[in-house]
Symmetry: C2
Subunit: 346 residues, 2 copies
DNA sequence: GTTAGCACTCTTTTAAATTGAGTGCTAACA
DNA sequence: TGTTAGCACTCAATTTAAAAGAGTGCTAAC
């Protein structure tokens, strides 16, 4: 009782998915039979649809309604049936990135443009520093009891912190510490800096004063990236109201909460980040997503690389019947704009 | 044909508002007649309600339904009828602020706690630097073609920027510039630094090299606050789904968009900021709000002051029938926790 | 001034009837 | 053997009608 997915079946499945994308309503045999390059009657379509249902590519919401694509159906569509679609993307190309903005402004704008361009919800993760190296460290005196520590990494990202002193510290010591920090940490990858290393530095500092220890700890804290919290910008959350299948109170509320919290999105992105494949694009459909509230959604993500090792993710969240082609194209376009953007800026 | 708002009328209005807050349904004369300390029949209440309607404190959504409070009614309630309510707030008191966190983390948390505590949407604006003074400026060399500028103000807030040089700059010049900047700008209020001042500095720098000019411009840009964009954290946007009168697709979508965009909230906050009254608390009801999408909401805001001149706003957005008493109490509590929080931290 | 009573209004709820899209099956056809 | 017309059947969605319920305004009596 197993069927072959022949050419006609594929064509019909594709027609079903395409139609469903537009309307959001279950699609019936009659509708498909009118579909251009497929000159068969609705009865024939019905037979084929019956087969496709049994094969699990489409689903009948109730006895007497049309069919809608299953996750498996969408998956086949994304993997095989989808043809690239080159139009409308030009808009993005012109609309975008002014070199003068700061990185976070650019990323916020990317989220916004992406959302308004696709009519889905968009997210952009701020690149993690992981893999970047320390380029410059400086301790400066603000006043007798305050220092400021500034750390610049090789992507020109700056972190800093005020250090409150409990005891005085003379200028010479500060100079010495600066030298120590720079000779020992310059060029060291951020993630290699750990407690052991700091302990060794404290020893080398020679002086066992607790003030020095405090300062070194503070510097370490400045450098250390909060590995946990990836920052995420979102935009267009309310676009989900455009799609009735996501727009009832229950679902909409849960989904928008997920966007608002961002933590789960961050987890999703982090997951994705560790992977390493050629295109940098991935598609999650429905239950494939690790986030329960999103089981009626699809998510398409792309990783971009601002500079050496500075890697972030852009993504689109929409209904399962999202227009995968244009989403993929939009993401590709933005990815290529972001890749290498940072070459000469903050 | 004008009535006096006597004691009984006030009592009845208060009862109507209280009841409506709970149920969200128009409330009828019968319901009120059962209300404890008011031993009159529903017919009497009806007469009084008729008066109150004519006076504009309550509204009849349609001929044969109960009454709901009008904006004017709520206003009276807030201004006169509301009695302070001291319970449940203790929770906030314990729940809150760990001194160790950074300011932005604290503020995000405040928004979250406020939202989950009240079941309304919450917003927190990040304090503007306006009024703060410059405490410390330092230019440091990162490498031959890059400097980093660090500016610390008297609230210990740090801003910084990488400066790309087009021409080399020797160490002596950097030292000279540092001296120049610190002697001239130290203690100067941030908002007093303008183009004229920078021009004068350039002159004083003596050297007419364009490199120096570039550096000074960059430093100015670092100091300059983006006056336009107040940053705002929001939380609990989806709480609006708890209130049917706000939860239909149309309104919910618009409201959530407003939260997401934040620009309009920022404008609201900025407006508020210029005011100067004793308590720092204000209540906007319905049409009193300058934001069209919020005409069915009420907003309560409180300004807090982290340190000298570092002033921000916390606010609650909810349905007009929000529980003004506990909202006001919650805000007061958080305000008092935030006030003066910054005394010794970043 | 207060209240019981009642007719009237209008929304909400409930139930029933109708419509309509779509299926599955059968029998006929090429 | 694959395709198709035809038809009975199913089930959600829509329409329609009826009933219920909540609340008011007014009147007349206390």
């Amino acid at each position: 009782m197993s069927f072959r997915l022949d050419d006609r079946k594929k064509k019909i499945l594709k027609a079903i998915i395409r139609t469903y994308m537009e309307t959001g309503e279950p699609v019936g045999s009659r509708t498909i039979s009118k579909y251009a390059d497929l000159n068969v009657s609705s009865a024939t379509i019905r037979n084929e649809m019956s087969d496709l249902t049994e094969m699990g590519y489409i689903i009948q919401p109730h006895t007497s309604a049309g069919r809608i694509p299953s996750d498996k159906g969408y998956r086949l569509y994304v993997d095989e049936l989808m043809k690239e679609k080159e139009d409308e993307i030009a808009e993005l190309r012109s609309l975008m990135i002014e070199q003068t903005d700061k990185v976070d402004k650019v990323l916020k704008k990317v989220a916004k443009v992406l959302a308004s361009n696709t009519n889905y919800a968009a997210m952009v993760s701020v690149p993690q520093y992981r893999g970047s190296r320390i380029k410059f460290i400086q301790l400066s005196r603000v006043n007798t009891r305050q220092l400021v520590a500034v750390v610049v990494n090789d992507n020109n990202l700056i972190r800093n912190q005020i250090i409150e002193l409990v005891d005085d510290m003379d200028d010479e010591t500060i100079l010495k510490l600066n030298l120590l920090l720079n000779t020992n940490l310059n060029g060291v990858p951020v993630q290699d800096i750990n407690l052991g290393m700091i302990a060794r530095l404290k020893e080398q500092a020679g002086m066992h004063s607790s003030v020095v220890a405090t300062v070194l700890d503070a510097v370490a804290a400045t450098i250390q990236v909060d590995q946990e919290d990836v920052e995420i910008y979102t935009s267009g959350a309310t676009n989900i109201f455009r799609y009735p299948e996501l727009a009832d109170k229950e679902k909409a509320s849960e989904l928008i909460s997920t966007f608002e919290e961002k933590q789960q999105l961050a987890d999703l992105v982090k997951d994705r980040m560790s992977d390493e494949d050629n295109t940098g694009l991935s598609v999650y459909i429905g239950e494939e997503l690790p986030i329960r509230t999103m089981k009626d959604c699809s998510v398409v993500t792309a990783t971009y690389e601002l500079g050496e090792g500075l890697r972030g993710t852009i993504g689109i969240i929409g209904p399962k019947r999202m227009d995968y082609e244009s989403v993929v194209e939009s993401l590709k376009e933005l990815k290529s704009q972001l890749d290498g953007l940072l070459t000469n800026k903050t």
